[in-house]
C-alpha cells in the first residue's frame, strides 16, 4: 500500500522502512494495575489513533503520529 510515514527527522518515507510500535498510551501509570491496562487493554480504535512508529531502516528514531485506522490517513 502506498503509505508514507512522516518521520520527524527524515520526512515522509515509505512505510516499509518503519516498525509499528502500537498505540501511544501514557507510561506514567500511577500503579501496576493501571499499567496492566496500558499493556493489555488497548482501545483498538476505529478512526484516528495516536500511535508509535520506529524508523527501523532509517534514522532509528521513535515518534508518535495520529493515523486513521480506517483510511490510513495521517494527520
Amino acid at each position: 500500500m502506498s503509505l508514507l510515514i512522516p518521520c520527524p527527522q527524515c520526512g515522509r518515507r515509505p512505510s516499509r522502512e518503519f516498525a509499528f510500535g502500537g498505540e501511544d498510551r501514557p507510561v506514567d501509570a500511577p500503579d501496576l494495575e493501571a499499567d496492566f491496562g496500558r499493556v493489555f487493554l488497548p482501545a483498538n480504535l476505529e478512526g484516528p489513533q495516536r500511535e508509535r512508529w520506529f524508523h527501523a531502516l532509517g534514522c532509528r528514531r521513535w515518534f508518535t503520529i495520529t493515523r486513521d485506522t480506517v483510511t490510513n490517513r495521517i494527520s
Binding site: 500500500m1 502506498s2 503509505l3 515522509r12 515509505p14 516499509r16 507510561v27 528514531r61 521513535w62 486513521d68
Partner: protein
C-alpha cells in the same frame, strides 16, 4: 479415452488422463468446456461443485493445476499445445467427491467452526489437522526449485493500468502530449471479449497504440499493488517489473456484479461476460435452453450474442430494456431470480414477477446485473495522486437482497453465516471479514466484497467515516513466490574484522544472526579441549555493543531490564535480562558500569538490533536524557578462554589483569600489544575468560599477537560448534533456541535475574499476574542414556512418559568432560517430579540439575 484431434484443432492438452483438443484462441477453460467438463473445482469447505462463473480471472471457480502450478486461472490462461491440466479439490476426484457430504453437514460447521472445534482433546489435533488439510485447500505445490524469474525496473512518464477502451484512450492521449507511456494489461488486449461494438472499438484503439512509438505495451502483466513512490509491481509468467511512473492512470475497468441467492453458485450459472465469450468468441454454446437476466445495455448485447449460437433463450429484463429485443427471444419484464435449482448443475430457475412466481427449466442461467468498479489499486493510493478513468471510476450501489446463498465463493461463506457472525457480535465489515474469512480467499473479495459491504451497511454496522469496506491490500492477484523473490538480488552477510584471519585458518564459515561466522576450524573436539584444558580464541565481534551515557543512563537501564542495576559499581558487570511487555524473556546481555553513570552493554548477536530499538524506545517514551551509541560494527571482540587465559594475556600486556584488578564479574581497560581493549570477564564457556573489545581495524593485529603468544600453549581458535558444547555443559540458555515466545524468567530458571522490588520495569505488571498462576512447565537439564551416536537426532525430540508427551528436547550435545550426552529441554511441571525416566527418541532422559560442569563456578572465577 482419447479423442481424435477435431478438424481445426491447433493442438492438444492433457487433462486427467485424456487428450483435449484445442481450437484457435482457446483458453484452458474454453477447451475443457468444449470437451464436456462442467465441474471445474470443488469449493473449499462445503465441496460444492463449481463451474465457469466470471470468465475474467476474478473468481476462484475455475482454478486448476497447469503443468504442476496450482491455482492457475483457466478462464484467462491461453491453452498451449502440450500442457497438462488437472482439477483441484475433492476426494478421490473433483468429479466424484466423497467429501461433498460436507455440504449437507453445513449446519454442523457454522461460521467460526475451526476456531471453536478441535480444541479438545488436544491429542486429537494432529490427526484432525491431517484430515482437514486433506479435505480443504487447493492443489499441492510443485516440488523442487523454481525457475529463476527476471526482475527489472522501468521508469516512465505515465503508467496506464488496464488496456480497455479507457486505458487505450488515456495512453494515446498522453503519447500525443509527448509523454513516454507504459500501458499494462493483465491479459492480451481485447482477450475474452465477445465480438461486438466494444471489441471493435478496442481493436481500433489498439491498432493506433501499437504504431505509437512512445507507448510500450506490456500484455499479460498483472498489476499487483500500489506502493509509495508510486511504484506499481507487475507480474508476468517470467518476470517482476517494478514500474516507477511520473503519473499513474488507473483504467482497471469494472467487474460484473456477483449474485447471491440459493443455488447461485451452481455450475451452469454464468456471469454475462463469461457466457458471451464462451458462446460468441470460442463458439461453444453454453446450453440448450438459457435464461438470461439483463438489467443493462451490456446485458442486452450479451443476449444478442448468445442468441446467435445457443438454443432457445428466455430473457428476464428490466423495464427500461424491454423494447430492446426483437420477437425471437421470449421476454419476461421486471422479474428477479429467486432461486436456481439442480444437483450437479442448474436444471431450473425460479423467477418472480410481481406476485407471480414461475419455474423455468433450463441448463444455463446467465446473470448480467451491471458492474462494480475494479478500484482496489485506487484505494491503495493513500498519499499518491492517481487518475482513475473509465468504468473504474463508476459507482457502487447496494441492491436490497435478503436471499440466502453463498456470498463468498472462495471460502463458502453464506448470507446466513454473516448473519450468525453478526449475532455473535462481529459488527463491522473488517471484523466480519476476519471472523467469517469472507473476502480472504484467492479472489480477495473481487466477488464478495460488495456483498459484504452491503450486508454491513444494511445491518447498520458501526463503520467509522461511513466506511463498510475492507482495506485493499496487495497482492491483487495470485503471484508465485519465485516472482516476488526475483527482486532479491543478494543476501548481505556482515563480516567481522577478522574475516580474512578465519579464512587463512581454514574456518568453515556460515550464516548466523546476519553475519558470516566460523562454525569450526576442522577439529571440533580439539577446539573444545583447548578451552577446557589450555586456552582458546573465538571471534565474538558480532555481539551487540552499546555505550549508554547521559544523566538518565541508569534510569534507562533500570527500566529496560528486569534485573537490578542501580547498585552496579564501576568496574563491575552483571548478566541482565529484558522482558517484553507481556512479561516474557526476549533478550539478555551483559551490563558493564563504566563510572560517571555510563554503561557499556553487550547483547546477543541476533538481538543487537532489537536491543538498540528497545533502548531507543524507552528513552523516548520516558523523555530521558541519554546518549546512546551503537558500537556493534565499530568494535571487534575476541574471547580468550581457558585455564591459561590469564597467563597468555600476561605475555602481551603490562596492565594488571589479576582477579583484584578485573574480578569476575567485572571489566577493565588494558593495552594488549599496543591495541587498546576493554577486557570483560565472561562466564559463558565456564572457564576463566576475557572478552577483549577493541577497535575493529586493530582486530587482525590483536588476533595475530594472541595466536603467536599462545603458540607454546597450543592455543586454538574455536567456532560456534565447540561453543555449543561449552555453553551447554554450563547449562546456559540460548534465548530463541531453548526458549519459547511465552517464557517467563522463572520458567527458564532465570528468576535470580529479576528484581521484583523495583518500582517499574518493562514487563513487571504482566509478570506480577503471571507469577500468581501455577507453574506449568520449565526448562530443565537432561542427562541421556543410550543416546545415539549422532546426538542431533535428540534435538527437538519429544519427551515421553507412559505414552504422554510431557516435554521436548531443545539442545543436545555429547559432553567430552562428562563422557555422556546432555541437553536442555522443556518438561511439564507435574512430570518433572513424577517421572524419573523419560523417553527421548531412542534414548532415555533424566532430569538433572544444571550446570552439568563445574557447578560451583570456581573455574570461571579463577
Amino acid at each position: 479415452m482419447t479423442e481424435r484431434p477435431a478438424s481445426g484443432a491447433t493442438g492438444q492438452i492433457r487433462f486427467e488422463g485424456r487428450e483435449v483438443s484445442l481450437h484457435e484462441g482457446d483458453t484452458i477453460a474454453s477447451a475443457l468446456f468444449r470437451a464436456g467438463v462442467r465441474t471445474f473445482s470443488r469449493s473449499l469447505k462445503l465441496h460444492r461443485r463449481r463451474g465457469i462463473y466470471c470468465g475474467t480471472g476474478e473468481c476462484p471457480n475455475c482454478l486448476v493445476t497447469v503443468d504442476d502450478v496450482p491455482g492457475s486461472r483457466s478462464c484467462i490462461t491461453p491453452a498451449l499445445d502440450g500442457m497438462t491440466v488437472r482439477r483441484e479439490g475433492g476426494w478421490p476426484s473433483t468429479e466424484r467427491d466423497a467429501l461433498h457430504v460436507a455440504d449437507r453437514l453445513h449446519g454442523l460447521m457454522p461460521v467460526g467452526f475451526l476456531y471453536k472445534t478441535f480444541i479438545h482433546p488436544r491429542s486429537a489435533w494432529p490427526l484432525a489437522e491431517r484430515v482437514i488439510r486433506r479435505a480443504t485447500g487447493l492443489g499441492p505445490l510443485p516440488g523442487g526449485p523454481a525457475d529463476r524469474r527476471v526482475a527489472r525496473h522501468l521508469r516512465t512518464d505515465v503508467l496506464v493500468v488496464g488496456a480497455g477502451i479507457a486505458g487505450l484512450s488515456a495512453a494515446l492521449e498522453a503519447a500525443a502530449g509527448g509523454r513516454r507511456v507504459v500501458l499494462c494489461e493483465e491479459r492480451a488486449i481485447g482477450d475474452g471479449i465477445a465480438p461486438g461494438s466494444t471489441l471493435e472499438r478496442i481493436r481500433r484503439l489498439e491498432a493506433r497504440a501499437r504504431t505509437e512509438p512512445s507507448i510500450e505495451i506490456l500484455e499479460r502483466h498483472a498489476a499487483l499493488g500500489l506502493y509509495e513512490g508510486p511504484v506499481v509491481p507487475l507480474a508476468s509468467d517470467r518476470a517482476l517489473v517494478q514500474v516507477h511512473p511520473g503519473r499513474l492512470v488507473l483504467a482497471t475497468g469494472a467487474r460484473e456484479r456477483h449474485a447471491v441467492f440459493p443455488g447461485s453458485d451452481l455450475p451452469g450459472v454464468w456471469l454475462g461476460r463469461a457466457a458471451a465469450a464462451m458462446s460468441g468468441l470460442h463458439g461453444v454454446p453454453i446450453g440448450e435452453r438459457v435464461v438470461v437476466v439483463a438489467t443493462t445495455a451490456e446485458g442486452i448485447e450479451h443476449i444478442r450474442t448468445l442468441a446467435r449460437a445457443d438454443g432457445s433463450i428466455v430473457a428476464v429484463v428490466s423495464p427500461s430494456m424491454a423494447g430492446e429485443l426483437d420477437g425471437d427471444v421470449e421476454t419476461i419484464v421486471d422479474a428477479r431470480v429467486l432461486e436456481a435449482r439442480g444437483r450437479s448443475r442448474v436444471r431450473e430457475v425460479v423467477v418472480r414477477s410481481g406476485e407471480n412466481s414461475r419455474t423455468i427449466a433450463c441448463d444455463a442461467l446467465v446473470l448480467s446485473l451491471g458492474t462494480v468498479p475494479r478500484d482496489e489499486l485506487a484505494r491503495m493510493a493513500i498519499d499518491e495522486r492517481v487518475d482513475v478513468v473509465g468504468d473504474a471510476a463508476g459507482d457502487r450501489r447496494c441492491d436490497a437482497n435478503d436471499a440466502d446463498g453463498i456470498v463468498c465463493l472462495c471460502e463458502d461463506v453464506s448470507t446466513r453465516d454473516l448473519g450468525r457472525a453478526w449475532d455473535e457480535g462481529f459488527r463491522s465489515a473488517e471484523i466480519l471479514k476476519r471472523y467469517t474469512t469472507a473476502t480472504m480467499g484467492p479472489c480477495q473479495g473481487a466477488m464478495c466484497g460488495l456483498a459484504l459491504e452491503c450486508f454491513a451497511r444494511s445491518m447498520g454496522a458501526a463503520g467509522a467515516a461511513g466506511s463498510h469496506r475492507t482495506t485493499a491490500r496487495p497482492p491483487l492477484r495470485p503471484v508465485a513466490l519465485e516472482t516476488l523473490a526475483a527482486s532479491v538480488h543478494e543476501i548481505v552477510d556482515k563480516r567481522t574484522g577478522l574475516h580474512d584471519a578465519h579464512l587463512a585458518a581454514g574456518a568453515r564459515l556460515d550464516r548466523s544472526g546476519g553475519w558470516l561466522r566460523p562454525f569450526g576450524y576442522g577439529d571440533r573436539l580439539e577446539e573444545y579441549r583447548a578451552v577446557r584444558e589450555r586456552v582458546g580464541l573465538m571471534d565474538v565481534g558480532t555481539l551487540g555493543k552499546f555505550l549508554i551515557a547521559g544523566r538518565d543512563a541508569t534510569r534507562l537501564v533500570d527500566r529496560v531490564f528486569a534485573t537490578r542495576v542501580d547498585d552496579l559499581r564501576p568496574g563491575r558487570s552483571r548478566y541482565v535480562i529484558a522482558l517484553d511487555e507481556g512479561g516474557y524473556v526476549v533478550d539478555d546481555g551483559l551490563l558493564c558500569a563504566l563510572g560517571d553513570g555510563a554503561f557499556y552493554l553487550t547483547s546477543t548477536t541476533g538481538g543487537a538490533e532489537r536491543m538498540d530499538a528497545r533502548l531507543r524506545e524507552w528513552t523516548d517514551r520516558f523523555g530521558l536524557h541519554v546518549h546512546l551509541l551503537d558500537r556493534t560494527s565499530e568494535l571487534g571482540a575476541v574471547l580468550v578462554a581457558g585455564p591459561l587465559a590469564r597467563e597468555l594475556l600476561e605475555r602481551v600486556t603490562s596492565d594488571r589483569i589479576d582477579g583484584g584488578a578485573i574480578p569476575y564479574p567485572g571489566h577493565g581497560e588494558v593495552i594488549v600489544d599496543s591495541v587498546p581493549c576493554r577486557a570483560v570477564r565472561s562466564g559463558f564457556v565456564g572457564e576463566l575468560a576475557f572478552e577483549l573489545h577493541h577497535p575493529r581495524s586493530r582486530g587482525p593485529a590483536l588476533w595475530e599477537s594472541l595466536m603467536r603468544a599462545g603458540a607454546s600453549f597450543d592455543i586454538r581458535p574455536h567456532g560456534l560448534d565447540a561453543l555449543e558444547t561449552l555453553r551447554l555443559e554450563k547449562g546456559h540458555v540460548y534465548l530463541g533456541q531453548d526458549s519459547l515466545p511465552d517464557d517467563t524468567p522463572a520458567k527458564l530458571g532465570l528468576g535470580h535475574a529479576v528484581a521484583m522490588g523495583k518500582p517499574w520495569f518493562v514487563g513487571k505488571s504482566a509478570l506480577e499476574r503471571l507469577s500468581a498462576l501455577p507453574a506449568t512447565r520449565r526448562l530443565a537439564g537432561l542427562a541421556f542414556d543410550r543416546a545415539p551416536n549422532d546426538v542431533a537426532e535428540l534435538r527437538g525430540a519429544p519427551l515421553m512418559t507412559d505414552g504422554d508427551v510431557v516435554g521436548r528436547v531443545t539442545s543436545a550435545e555429547r559432553s567430552p568432560v562428562l563422557d555422556r550426552a546432555i541437553g536442555l529441554g522443556w518438561i511439564r511441571e507435574d512430570a518433572a517430579s513424577r517421572a524419573p525416566d523419560l523417553r527421548a527418541g531412542p534414548a532415555v532422559a533424566r532430569v538433572v540439575p544444571t550446570p552439568f560442569y563445574d557447578p560451583e563456578g570456581s573455574r570461571v572465577r579463577a
